[in-house]
Amino acid sequence: MKGVLATDRRGVRELGAEELVGWDEVTHGVVLNSFETELENVAHIPPEERPYSDFSSYTATVASWRVIKPVYNRDICIDCQNCWVWCPDTSIISRDKQMLGIDYDHCKGCGVCVEVCPTNPKSLLMFAEAEDPETALSQWPEKKKKEKK
Protein backbone atom coordinates (compact mmCIF):
# COMPACT_ATOMS: atom_id res chain seq x y z
CA MET A 1 0.00 0.00 0.00
CA LYS A 2 1.33 3.36 -1.02
CA GLY A 3 1.62 5.95 1.70
CA VAL A 4 0.07 9.38 1.75
CA LEU A 5 2.29 11.95 0.02
CA ALA A 6 4.78 13.52 2.35
CA THR A 7 4.11 17.21 2.62
CA ASP A 8 5.79 19.31 5.27
CA ARG A 9 3.37 22.20 5.28
CA ARG A 10 0.09 20.33 5.37
CA GLY A 11 -1.99 20.50 8.52
CA VAL A 12 0.82 21.75 10.74
CA ARG A 13 -1.43 23.80 13.03
CA GLU A 14 -4.66 23.38 14.88
CA LEU A 15 -7.19 26.05 13.96
CA GLY A 16 -6.95 28.79 16.56
CA ALA A 17 -3.37 27.90 17.49
CA GLU A 18 -1.90 30.62 15.28
CA GLU A 19 0.03 33.47 16.83
CA LEU A 20 -2.15 36.45 17.72
CA VAL A 21 -0.26 39.49 16.50
CA GLY A 22 -0.87 43.16 17.33
CA TRP A 23 -2.67 45.79 15.28
CA ASP A 24 0.58 46.86 13.67
CA GLU A 25 1.20 43.38 12.28
CA VAL A 26 -2.18 42.33 10.91
CA THR A 27 -2.45 42.32 7.13
CA HIS A 28 -3.33 45.40 5.08
CA GLY A 29 -7.05 45.52 4.34
CA VAL A 30 -7.61 42.13 6.01
CA VAL A 31 -6.21 40.60 2.82
CA LEU A 32 -4.86 37.05 2.90
CA ASN A 33 -2.30 35.75 0.40
CA SER A 34 -2.55 32.02 -0.19
CA PHE A 35 1.10 31.61 -1.20
CA GLU A 36 4.42 32.84 0.13
CA THR A 37 5.82 33.67 -3.29
CA GLU A 38 4.47 34.39 -6.75
CA LEU A 39 2.90 31.34 -8.32
CA GLU A 40 1.64 31.32 -11.89
CA ASN A 41 -0.76 28.68 -13.19
CA VAL A 42 -1.75 27.22 -9.84
CA ALA A 43 -4.01 24.77 -11.66
CA HIS A 44 -0.94 23.14 -13.16
CA ILE A 45 1.01 22.72 -9.95
CA PRO A 46 0.29 19.83 -7.59
CA PRO A 47 -0.36 20.85 -3.97
CA GLU A 48 2.85 19.30 -2.66
CA GLU A 49 4.86 21.67 -4.88
CA ARG A 50 3.07 24.87 -3.92
CA PRO A 51 4.57 27.48 -1.58
CA TYR A 52 1.55 27.68 0.71
CA SER A 53 1.66 30.59 3.13
CA ASP A 54 0.64 30.33 6.78
CA PHE A 55 -2.65 31.91 5.67
CA SER A 56 -3.67 28.93 3.58
CA SER A 57 -5.98 26.53 5.39
CA TYR A 58 -3.88 23.80 3.75
CA THR A 59 -1.45 24.42 6.60
CA ALA A 60 -4.16 23.91 9.22
CA THR A 61 -5.72 20.72 10.49
CA VAL A 62 -9.27 19.76 11.41
CA ALA A 63 -8.33 16.22 12.41
CA SER A 64 -9.66 16.87 15.90
CA TRP A 65 -13.20 17.16 14.49
CA ARG A 66 -13.24 13.42 13.77
CA VAL A 67 -14.65 10.73 16.02
CA ILE A 68 -14.67 8.14 13.28
CA LYS A 69 -12.32 7.90 10.33
CA PRO A 70 -12.23 6.24 6.94
CA VAL A 71 -9.60 3.55 6.47
CA TYR A 72 -8.50 2.77 2.93
CA ASN A 73 -7.84 -0.71 1.59
CA ARG A 74 -5.67 -0.47 -1.49
CA ASP A 75 -6.07 -4.18 -2.28
CA ILE A 76 -9.73 -3.84 -3.17
CA CYS A 77 -9.77 -0.35 -4.66
CA ILE A 78 -10.47 -0.02 -8.40
CA ASP A 79 -9.44 3.67 -8.56
CA CYS A 80 -12.89 4.69 -9.72
CA GLN A 81 -12.43 8.10 -8.03
CA ASN A 82 -15.98 8.26 -6.67
CA CYS A 83 -14.52 9.08 -3.27
CA TRP A 84 -12.34 11.79 -4.82
CA VAL A 85 -15.14 13.59 -6.65
CA TRP A 86 -17.53 13.66 -3.72
CA CYS A 87 -15.17 14.34 -0.82
CA PRO A 88 -16.27 17.66 0.66
CA ASP A 89 -12.90 18.24 2.33
CA THR A 90 -10.40 17.78 -0.51
CA SER A 91 -9.11 14.84 1.49
CA ILE A 92 -8.88 12.03 -1.04
CA ILE A 93 -5.38 12.10 -2.44
CA SER A 94 -5.41 11.02 -6.05
CA ARG A 95 -2.47 11.39 -8.40
CA ASP A 96 -2.11 10.02 -11.93
CA LYS A 97 -5.58 8.46 -11.79
CA GLN A 98 -4.65 6.48 -8.68
CA MET A 99 -6.16 6.78 -5.26
CA LEU A 100 -3.22 7.10 -2.88
CA GLY A 101 -4.95 7.51 0.44
CA ILE A 102 -6.64 9.88 2.81
CA ASP A 103 -5.47 13.28 3.96
CA TYR A 104 -6.09 12.86 7.67
CA ASP A 105 -5.20 16.50 8.35
CA HIS A 106 -8.27 17.68 6.45
CA CYS A 107 -10.68 14.74 6.66
CA LYS A 108 -13.59 15.41 9.04
CA GLY A 109 -14.85 11.84 9.05
CA CYS A 110 -18.18 12.48 7.34
CA GLY A 111 -18.18 9.03 5.73
CA VAL A 112 -19.37 10.11 2.28
CA CYS A 113 -16.38 8.34 0.67
CA VAL A 114 -17.43 5.03 2.21
CA GLU A 115 -21.04 5.44 1.07
CA VAL A 116 -20.07 6.15 -2.55
CA CYS A 117 -17.46 3.39 -2.75
CA PRO A 118 -18.79 0.81 -5.27
CA THR A 119 -16.51 -2.17 -4.59
CA ASN A 120 -17.57 -5.32 -2.83
CA PRO A 121 -16.45 -5.31 -0.08
CA LYS A 122 -15.88 -1.58 0.12
CA SER A 123 -12.32 -0.28 -0.19
CA LEU A 124 -13.07 2.38 2.41
CA LEU A 125 -14.70 1.71 5.78
CA MET A 126 -15.27 3.82 8.85
CA PHE A 127 -13.49 2.89 12.07
CA ALA A 128 -13.13 4.54 15.44
CA GLU A 129 -10.67 7.42 15.31
CA ALA A 130 -8.33 5.61 17.70
CA GLU A 131 -8.29 2.38 15.69
CA ASP A 132 -4.90 1.31 14.40
CA PRO A 133 -5.00 1.11 10.55
CA GLU A 134 -3.28 -2.27 10.45
CA THR A 135 -5.82 -3.70 12.87
CA ALA A 136 -8.60 -2.13 10.84
CA LEU A 137 -7.30 -3.74 7.65
CA SER A 138 -7.09 -7.09 9.39
CA GLN A 139 -10.77 -6.86 10.27
CA TRP A 140 -11.87 -6.15 6.68
CA PRO A 141 -15.11 -7.97 5.77
CA GLU A 142 -15.36 -10.60 3.05
CA LYS A 143 -17.13 -10.05 -0.23
CA LYS A 144 -20.87 -9.91 0.30
CA LYS A 145 -23.12 -12.20 -1.70
CA LYS A 146 -25.86 -10.53 -3.67
CA GLU A 147 -29.11 -10.66 -1.79
CA LYS A 148 -31.80 -12.55 -3.56
CA LYS A 149 -34.85 -10.49 -4.33
Partner: protein, 412 residues
Amino acid sequence: MAEKMELNDVEVWDGNYAAAQALRQAQVDVVAAYPITPSTPIVENYGAFVANGYIDGEFVMVESEHGAMSTCVGAAAAGGRVATATSSQGFLLMVEVLYQASGMRLPIVLNVVNRALASPLNVRGDHGDMYAGRDSGWIQLDAFNAQEAYDLNFCAFKIAEDINVRLPAMVHQDGFLTSHTAQNVSPLSDDEAYAFIGDYKPVEEMLDFSKAVTYGAQTEEDWHYEHKAKQHRALMDSYVVIDRVFEEFKQKTGREYKRVESYLMEDAEVAIVALGSTVETAIQAAQELRDNEGLKAGVVAPRCFRPFPFNEIRDALADVKAVAVLDRSCPMGAMGALFNEVSAAMYTTPSRPLITNFIYGLGGRDFSLEDAKHIFREQKGHADVGYITTHIQQFSGLRGPKLGFYETKRSK
Protein backbone atom coordinates in the same frame (compact mmCIF):
# COMPACT_ATOMS: atom_id res chain seq x y z
CA MET B 1 -7.66 55.72 -27.06
CA ALA B 2 -9.93 58.27 -25.48
CA GLU B 3 -10.31 61.62 -27.25
CA LYS B 4 -8.86 64.59 -25.42
CA MET B 5 -10.99 67.63 -24.73
CA GLU B 6 -9.86 71.19 -25.31
CA LEU B 7 -10.87 73.39 -22.38
CA ASN B 8 -10.80 77.16 -21.96
CA ASP B 9 -8.69 78.80 -19.25
CA VAL B 10 -11.91 79.67 -17.50
CA GLU B 11 -15.06 77.64 -17.99
CA VAL B 12 -18.53 78.31 -16.64
CA TRP B 13 -19.42 75.08 -14.91
CA ASP B 14 -21.68 74.07 -12.09
CA GLY B 15 -20.34 71.79 -9.36
CA ASN B 16 -21.74 68.64 -10.95
CA TYR B 17 -20.19 69.33 -14.33
CA ALA B 18 -16.90 70.25 -12.69
CA ALA B 19 -16.87 66.91 -10.86
CA ALA B 20 -17.79 65.01 -14.05
CA GLN B 21 -14.93 66.69 -15.91
CA ALA B 22 -12.54 65.77 -13.11
CA LEU B 23 -13.60 62.11 -13.34
CA ARG B 24 -13.06 62.20 -17.10
CA GLN B 25 -9.60 63.71 -16.73
CA ALA B 26 -8.67 61.19 -14.01
CA GLN B 27 -9.26 58.46 -16.63
CA VAL B 28 -11.16 56.35 -14.15
CA ASP B 29 -11.14 52.66 -15.08
CA VAL B 30 -14.60 51.83 -13.73
CA VAL B 31 -17.46 54.15 -12.85
CA ALA B 32 -20.41 52.16 -11.50
CA ALA B 33 -23.28 54.46 -10.70
CA TYR B 34 -26.98 54.98 -10.14
CA PRO B 35 -28.73 58.32 -10.65
CA ILE B 36 -30.16 60.41 -7.83
CA THR B 37 -30.97 64.09 -7.51
CA PRO B 38 -28.94 66.31 -7.21
CA SER B 39 -25.86 64.27 -8.17
CA THR B 40 -27.43 62.81 -11.34
CA PRO B 41 -25.76 65.26 -13.76
CA ILE B 42 -22.32 63.96 -12.70
CA VAL B 43 -23.33 60.54 -13.97
CA GLU B 44 -25.19 61.93 -16.99
CA ASN B 45 -22.30 64.10 -18.06
CA TYR B 46 -19.96 61.18 -17.61
CA GLY B 47 -22.35 59.17 -19.80
CA ALA B 48 -22.08 61.88 -22.46
CA PHE B 49 -18.28 61.65 -22.31
CA VAL B 50 -18.59 57.87 -22.78
CA ALA B 51 -20.96 58.26 -25.72
CA ASN B 52 -18.60 60.67 -27.45
CA GLY B 53 -15.39 58.73 -27.07
CA TYR B 54 -13.76 60.63 -24.22
CA ILE B 55 -13.60 57.65 -21.85
CA ASP B 56 -11.58 54.43 -22.13
CA GLY B 57 -12.84 52.92 -18.90
CA GLU B 58 -16.03 51.00 -18.22
CA PHE B 59 -19.23 52.83 -17.32
CA VAL B 60 -21.58 50.48 -15.50
CA MET B 61 -25.08 51.77 -14.81
CA VAL B 62 -26.33 49.48 -12.10
CA GLU B 63 -29.67 48.79 -10.45
CA SER B 64 -29.21 50.67 -7.15
CA GLU B 65 -26.70 52.70 -5.16
CA HIS B 66 -25.94 49.64 -3.08
CA GLY B 67 -25.15 47.82 -6.30
CA ALA B 68 -23.10 50.81 -7.45
CA MET B 69 -20.80 50.82 -4.43
CA SER B 70 -20.66 47.00 -4.42
CA THR B 71 -19.58 47.03 -8.06
CA CYS B 72 -17.04 49.72 -7.21
CA VAL B 73 -15.61 47.49 -4.47
CA GLY B 74 -15.31 44.49 -6.80
CA ALA B 75 -13.72 46.70 -9.44
CA ALA B 76 -11.31 48.36 -7.02
CA ALA B 77 -10.16 45.00 -5.66
CA ALA B 78 -9.39 44.10 -9.27
CA GLY B 79 -6.72 46.77 -9.29
CA GLY B 80 -7.81 49.98 -11.02
CA ARG B 81 -9.11 53.48 -10.50
CA VAL B 82 -12.76 53.60 -9.44
CA ALA B 83 -15.21 56.42 -8.78
CA THR B 84 -18.91 57.15 -8.48
CA ALA B 85 -21.36 59.77 -7.24
CA THR B 86 -24.48 59.87 -5.12
CA SER B 87 -26.68 61.86 -2.73
CA SER B 88 -29.02 61.46 0.20
CA GLN B 89 -31.11 58.26 0.14
CA GLY B 90 -28.69 56.80 -2.36
CA PHE B 91 -25.87 57.53 0.02
CA LEU B 92 -27.76 55.79 2.82
CA LEU B 93 -28.31 52.77 0.61
CA MET B 94 -24.54 52.68 0.03
CA VAL B 95 -23.64 52.94 3.69
CA GLU B 96 -23.22 49.22 4.30
CA VAL B 97 -20.73 48.96 1.47
CA LEU B 98 -18.87 52.15 2.47
CA TYR B 99 -17.62 50.32 5.53
CA GLN B 100 -16.62 47.32 3.45
CA ALA B 101 -14.69 49.48 0.96
CA SER B 102 -12.69 51.19 3.69
CA GLY B 103 -12.12 47.96 5.63
CA MET B 104 -10.62 46.44 2.49
CA ARG B 105 -8.54 49.61 2.00
CA LEU B 106 -9.83 50.27 -1.52
CA PRO B 107 -9.16 53.84 -2.73
CA ILE B 108 -12.52 54.57 -4.36
CA VAL B 109 -13.52 58.23 -4.90
CA LEU B 110 -17.16 59.05 -4.18
CA ASN B 111 -18.64 62.42 -5.08
CA VAL B 112 -21.39 63.19 -2.59
CA VAL B 113 -23.69 65.99 -3.61
CA ASN B 114 -25.12 66.68 -0.18
CA ARG B 115 -28.87 66.42 0.24
CA ALA B 116 -31.31 66.05 3.11
CA LEU B 117 -32.53 62.67 4.35
CA ALA B 118 -36.17 61.56 4.37
CA SER B 119 -38.61 61.36 5.99
CA PRO B 120 -40.02 63.80 4.96
CA LEU B 121 -38.58 63.46 1.47
CA ASN B 122 -36.61 66.46 0.31
CA VAL B 123 -34.25 66.93 -2.63
CA ARG B 124 -32.49 70.06 -1.36
CA GLY B 125 -29.14 70.37 0.24
CA ASP B 126 -28.22 69.73 3.84
CA HIS B 127 -25.48 67.67 5.39
CA GLY B 128 -27.49 64.71 6.68
CA ASP B 129 -25.89 62.36 4.17
CA MET B 130 -22.40 63.68 4.78
CA TYR B 131 -22.78 63.09 8.50
CA ALA B 132 -24.10 59.59 7.90
CA GLY B 133 -20.71 58.73 6.44
CA ARG B 134 -18.60 60.09 9.22
CA ASP B 135 -17.82 56.77 10.93
CA SER B 136 -17.45 54.82 7.70
CA GLY B 137 -13.67 55.02 7.50
CA TRP B 138 -13.57 57.26 4.42
CA ILE B 139 -11.60 60.45 4.00
CA GLN B 140 -14.15 63.25 3.62
CA LEU B 141 -13.15 66.44 1.79
CA ASP B 142 -15.60 69.30 1.57
CA ALA B 143 -15.87 71.66 -1.42
CA PHE B 144 -17.54 75.02 -0.89
CA ASN B 145 -17.92 75.90 -4.60
CA ALA B 146 -17.60 74.44 -8.10
CA GLN B 147 -13.88 75.16 -8.46
CA GLU B 148 -13.18 73.32 -5.26
CA ALA B 149 -15.40 70.40 -6.29
CA TYR B 150 -13.20 70.12 -9.37
CA ASP B 151 -9.87 70.55 -7.59
CA LEU B 152 -10.63 68.29 -4.66
CA ASN B 153 -11.44 65.36 -6.94
CA PHE B 154 -7.84 65.29 -8.13
CA CYS B 155 -6.57 65.65 -4.58
CA ALA B 156 -8.92 62.86 -3.51
CA PHE B 157 -7.56 60.36 -6.05
CA LYS B 158 -3.98 61.23 -5.20
CA ILE B 159 -4.53 61.01 -1.44
CA ALA B 160 -6.67 57.87 -1.52
CA GLU B 161 -4.32 55.96 -3.83
CA ASP B 162 -1.16 56.93 -1.95
CA ILE B 163 0.57 53.78 -0.75
CA ASN B 164 0.66 55.16 2.79
CA VAL B 165 -3.08 55.84 2.80
CA ARG B 166 -4.99 53.38 0.59
CA LEU B 167 -8.37 54.49 1.89
CA PRO B 168 -11.48 55.59 -0.01
CA ALA B 169 -12.30 59.30 -0.19
CA MET B 170 -15.45 61.35 -0.56
CA VAL B 171 -15.63 64.78 -2.15
CA HIS B 172 -18.63 66.64 -0.82
CA GLN B 173 -20.42 69.59 -2.38
CA ASP B 174 -23.74 71.14 -1.46
CA GLY B 175 -26.76 70.01 -3.44
CA PHE B 176 -28.06 72.72 -5.81
CA LEU B 177 -26.21 75.58 -4.08
CA THR B 178 -22.96 74.23 -5.48
CA SER B 179 -24.00 71.38 -7.75
CA HIS B 180 -26.41 73.42 -9.88
CA THR B 181 -24.91 76.91 -9.66
CA ALA B 182 -22.81 77.85 -12.67
CA GLN B 183 -19.60 79.52 -11.61
CA ASN B 184 -16.22 80.30 -13.10
CA VAL B 185 -13.95 77.29 -12.93
CA SER B 186 -10.31 77.25 -14.06
CA PRO B 187 -9.66 73.73 -15.27
CA LEU B 188 -6.39 71.95 -15.85
CA SER B 189 -5.60 70.61 -19.29
CA ASP B 190 -6.26 66.89 -19.71
CA ASP B 191 -2.53 66.15 -19.66
CA GLU B 192 -1.78 68.33 -16.63
CA ALA B 193 -4.68 66.85 -14.69
CA TYR B 194 -3.68 63.25 -15.37
CA ALA B 195 -0.02 63.95 -14.69
CA PHE B 196 -0.95 65.30 -11.27
CA ILE B 197 -2.56 62.05 -10.09
CA GLY B 198 -0.50 59.70 -12.27
CA ASP B 199 -1.11 56.07 -13.20
CA TYR B 200 -2.97 53.86 -10.77
CA LYS B 201 -0.67 51.53 -8.85
CA PRO B 202 -2.43 48.27 -8.00
CA VAL B 203 -2.05 46.81 -4.52
CA GLU B 204 -3.12 43.21 -3.78
CA GLU B 205 -5.06 43.11 -7.04
CA MET B 206 -7.34 40.21 -7.91
CA LEU B 207 -6.21 40.29 -11.55
CA ASP B 208 -2.59 39.44 -10.78
CA PHE B 209 -2.99 35.70 -11.03
CA SER B 210 0.48 34.98 -9.70
CA LYS B 211 -0.73 36.08 -6.27
CA ALA B 212 -3.88 34.40 -5.07
CA VAL B 213 -5.52 36.96 -2.83
CA THR B 214 -8.50 36.69 -0.50
CA TYR B 215 -10.54 39.83 0.16
CA GLY B 216 -13.22 40.14 2.81
CA ALA B 217 -12.27 37.48 5.35
CA GLN B 218 -14.27 37.01 8.52
CA THR B 219 -12.68 38.17 11.77
CA GLU B 220 -14.20 37.53 15.17
CA GLU B 221 -13.23 38.76 18.63
CA ASP B 222 -9.63 37.62 18.36
CA TRP B 223 -8.83 39.63 15.19
CA HIS B 224 -11.51 42.20 14.41
CA TYR B 225 -10.35 44.82 16.90
CA GLU B 226 -6.75 44.88 15.65
CA HIS B 227 -7.88 45.33 12.05
CA LYS B 228 -10.20 48.19 12.95
CA ALA B 229 -7.48 49.87 15.00
CA LYS B 230 -5.02 49.57 12.13
CA GLN B 231 -7.55 51.11 9.76
CA HIS B 232 -8.28 53.94 12.20
CA ARG B 233 -4.59 54.62 12.51
CA ALA B 234 -4.25 54.79 8.71
CA LEU B 235 -7.07 57.33 8.55
CA MET B 236 -5.72 59.37 11.46
CA ASP B 237 -2.26 59.44 9.88
CA SER B 238 -3.53 60.25 6.38
CA TYR B 239 -3.28 63.95 7.21
CA VAL B 240 0.42 63.85 6.35
CA VAL B 241 -0.40 62.81 2.80
CA ILE B 242 -3.36 65.17 2.59
CA ASP B 243 -1.11 68.12 3.51
CA ARG B 244 1.53 67.00 1.02
CA VAL B 245 -1.00 66.60 -1.81
CA PHE B 246 -2.56 70.01 -1.07
CA GLU B 247 0.95 71.50 -1.22
CA GLU B 248 1.70 69.78 -4.53
CA PHE B 249 -1.62 71.02 -5.89
CA LYS B 250 -0.74 74.55 -4.87
CA GLN B 251 2.62 74.27 -6.63
CA LYS B 252 0.82 73.13 -9.76
CA THR B 253 -2.17 75.48 -9.81
CA GLY B 254 -1.56 78.24 -7.31
CA ARG B 255 -4.77 77.26 -5.56
CA GLU B 256 -4.20 76.58 -1.88
CA TYR B 257 -6.14 74.17 0.31
CA LYS B 258 -5.74 73.47 4.02
CA ARG B 259 -7.40 70.86 6.20
CA VAL B 260 -8.89 73.74 8.14
CA GLU B 261 -9.52 76.94 6.26
CA SER B 262 -9.47 80.19 8.22
CA TYR B 263 -10.89 83.44 6.97
CA LEU B 264 -10.48 86.81 8.70
CA MET B 265 -9.20 85.00 11.76
CA GLU B 266 -5.95 86.91 12.47
CA ASP B 267 -7.50 89.15 15.13
CA ALA B 268 -10.95 87.57 15.37
CA GLU B 269 -12.78 87.75 18.69
CA VAL B 270 -15.75 85.65 17.57
CA ALA B 271 -16.01 82.93 14.95
CA ILE B 272 -18.40 80.75 13.02
CA VAL B 273 -17.37 77.18 12.24
CA ALA B 274 -19.26 75.79 9.27
CA LEU B 275 -19.10 73.41 6.32
CA GLY B 276 -20.05 73.72 2.66
CA SER B 277 -21.43 76.65 0.73
CA THR B 278 -22.40 78.34 4.02
CA VAL B 279 -18.75 79.22 4.48
CA GLU B 280 -18.90 81.80 1.71
CA THR B 281 -22.01 83.38 3.25
CA ALA B 282 -20.35 83.50 6.66
CA ILE B 283 -17.20 85.11 5.23
CA GLN B 284 -19.22 87.86 3.59
CA ALA B 285 -21.18 88.46 6.79
CA ALA B 286 -17.96 88.65 8.79
CA GLN B 287 -16.45 91.12 6.36
CA GLU B 288 -19.55 93.35 6.45
CA LEU B 289 -19.65 93.26 10.25
CA ARG B 290 -15.99 94.21 10.36
CA ASP B 291 -16.54 97.03 7.88
CA ASN B 292 -19.77 98.40 9.31
CA GLU B 293 -19.83 97.50 13.00
CA GLY B 294 -16.18 96.96 13.90
CA LEU B 295 -17.06 93.46 15.04
CA LYS B 296 -13.98 91.26 14.81
CA ALA B 297 -15.62 88.25 13.20
CA GLY B 298 -13.93 85.36 11.45
CA VAL B 299 -14.78 82.01 9.87
CA VAL B 300 -13.23 78.59 10.37
CA ALA B 301 -14.13 75.80 7.95
CA PRO B 302 -12.94 72.21 8.09
CA ARG B 303 -11.96 71.35 4.53
CA CYS B 304 -11.33 67.88 5.76
CA PHE B 305 -14.19 66.43 7.83
CA ARG B 306 -12.46 63.05 8.17
CA PRO B 307 -9.83 62.64 9.42
CA PHE B 308 -11.11 65.30 11.80
CA PRO B 309 -8.47 68.06 12.05
CA PHE B 310 -8.40 68.14 15.86
CA ASN B 311 -5.11 70.04 16.12
CA GLU B 312 -5.80 72.51 13.35
CA ILE B 313 -9.19 73.36 14.87
CA ARG B 314 -7.43 74.06 18.17
CA ASP B 315 -4.92 76.29 16.42
CA ALA B 316 -7.56 78.10 14.37
CA LEU B 317 -9.75 78.92 17.37
CA ALA B 318 -7.01 79.39 19.99
CA ASP B 319 -7.50 83.13 20.38
CA VAL B 320 -11.25 83.61 19.99
CA LYS B 321 -13.61 84.22 22.88
CA ALA B 322 -16.86 82.84 21.47
CA VAL B 323 -17.58 80.35 18.73
CA ALA B 324 -20.79 79.30 17.01
CA VAL B 325 -20.60 75.86 15.42
CA LEU B 326 -23.15 75.37 12.67
CA ASP B 327 -24.57 71.95 11.91
CA ARG B 328 -26.60 71.56 8.74
CA SER B 329 -28.00 68.24 9.90
CA CYS B 330 -30.57 67.54 12.57
CA PRO B 331 -28.70 65.69 15.31
CA MET B 332 -31.91 64.09 16.64
CA GLY B 333 -31.51 63.88 20.37
CA ALA B 334 -28.02 65.28 20.80
CA MET B 335 -25.88 68.29 20.08
CA GLY B 336 -24.69 68.70 16.50
CA ALA B 337 -21.82 66.45 15.46
CA LEU B 338 -19.55 69.29 14.34
CA PHE B 339 -20.30 71.12 17.61
CA ASN B 340 -19.35 68.05 19.61
CA GLU B 341 -16.09 67.59 17.77
CA VAL B 342 -15.07 71.23 17.87
CA SER B 343 -16.02 71.41 21.55
CA ALA B 344 -13.97 68.32 22.34
CA ALA B 345 -10.96 69.83 20.61
CA MET B 346 -11.30 73.21 22.34
CA TYR B 347 -11.85 71.67 25.77
CA THR B 348 -8.21 70.56 25.66
CA THR B 349 -6.93 74.14 25.16
CA PRO B 350 -6.15 76.73 27.80
CA SER B 351 -8.58 79.26 26.29
CA ARG B 352 -11.70 77.07 26.27
CA PRO B 353 -13.81 79.55 24.32
CA LEU B 354 -17.58 79.81 24.79
CA ILE B 355 -19.11 77.48 22.21
CA THR B 356 -22.70 77.31 21.08
CA ASN B 357 -24.41 75.17 18.47
CA PHE B 358 -26.74 76.25 15.68
CA ILE B 359 -28.83 73.87 13.65
CA TYR B 360 -29.68 75.55 10.35
CA GLY B 361 -30.51 75.18 6.68
CA LEU B 362 -32.23 71.80 6.89
CA GLY B 363 -33.79 70.60 3.65
CA GLY B 364 -32.30 73.51 1.74
CA ARG B 365 -33.73 76.28 3.97
CA ASP B 366 -31.92 79.47 2.99
CA PHE B 367 -29.17 80.66 5.29
CA SER B 368 -28.91 84.39 4.70
CA LEU B 369 -26.29 87.02 5.38
CA GLU B 370 -28.58 88.37 8.10
CA ASP B 371 -28.79 84.94 9.74
CA ALA B 372 -25.01 84.76 9.83
CA LYS B 373 -24.70 88.31 11.17
CA HIS B 374 -27.21 87.59 13.91
CA ILE B 375 -25.15 84.61 15.02
CA PHE B 376 -21.93 86.65 15.03
CA ARG B 377 -23.55 89.42 17.07
CA GLU B 378 -24.85 86.90 19.57
CA GLN B 379 -21.35 85.47 19.98
CA LYS B 380 -20.06 88.96 20.57
CA GLY B 381 -22.64 89.25 23.36
CA HIS B 382 -21.37 86.04 24.96
CA ALA B 383 -17.78 87.22 24.62
CA ASP B 384 -18.54 90.55 26.28
CA VAL B 385 -20.24 89.11 29.37
CA GLY B 386 -18.03 86.02 29.55
CA TYR B 387 -20.72 83.36 29.49
CA ILE B 388 -23.32 81.88 27.17
CA THR B 389 -26.50 83.92 27.52
CA THR B 390 -28.64 81.81 25.20
CA HIS B 391 -29.47 78.14 24.92
CA ILE B 392 -26.37 76.19 23.97
CA GLN B 393 -28.19 74.66 21.02
CA GLN B 394 -30.36 76.96 18.94
CA PHE B 395 -32.12 76.81 15.59
CA SER B 396 -31.47 79.41 12.93
CA GLY B 397 -34.16 80.25 10.36
CA LEU B 398 -36.83 78.06 11.95
CA ARG B 399 -40.50 79.17 12.01
CA GLY B 400 -42.60 78.86 15.20
CA PRO B 401 -41.76 79.37 18.88
CA LYS B 402 -38.06 79.73 19.60
CA LEU B 403 -36.48 76.31 20.02
CA GLY B 404 -33.36 75.73 22.09
CA PHE B 405 -31.72 73.27 24.46
CA TYR B 406 -29.42 73.42 27.49
CA GLU B 407 -27.97 76.35 29.33
CA THR B 408 -24.43 76.90 30.50
CA LYS B 409 -23.28 75.72 33.92
CA ARG B 410 -20.11 77.78 33.79
CA SER B 411 -20.17 80.65 36.31
CA LYS B 412 -21.93 83.80 35.24
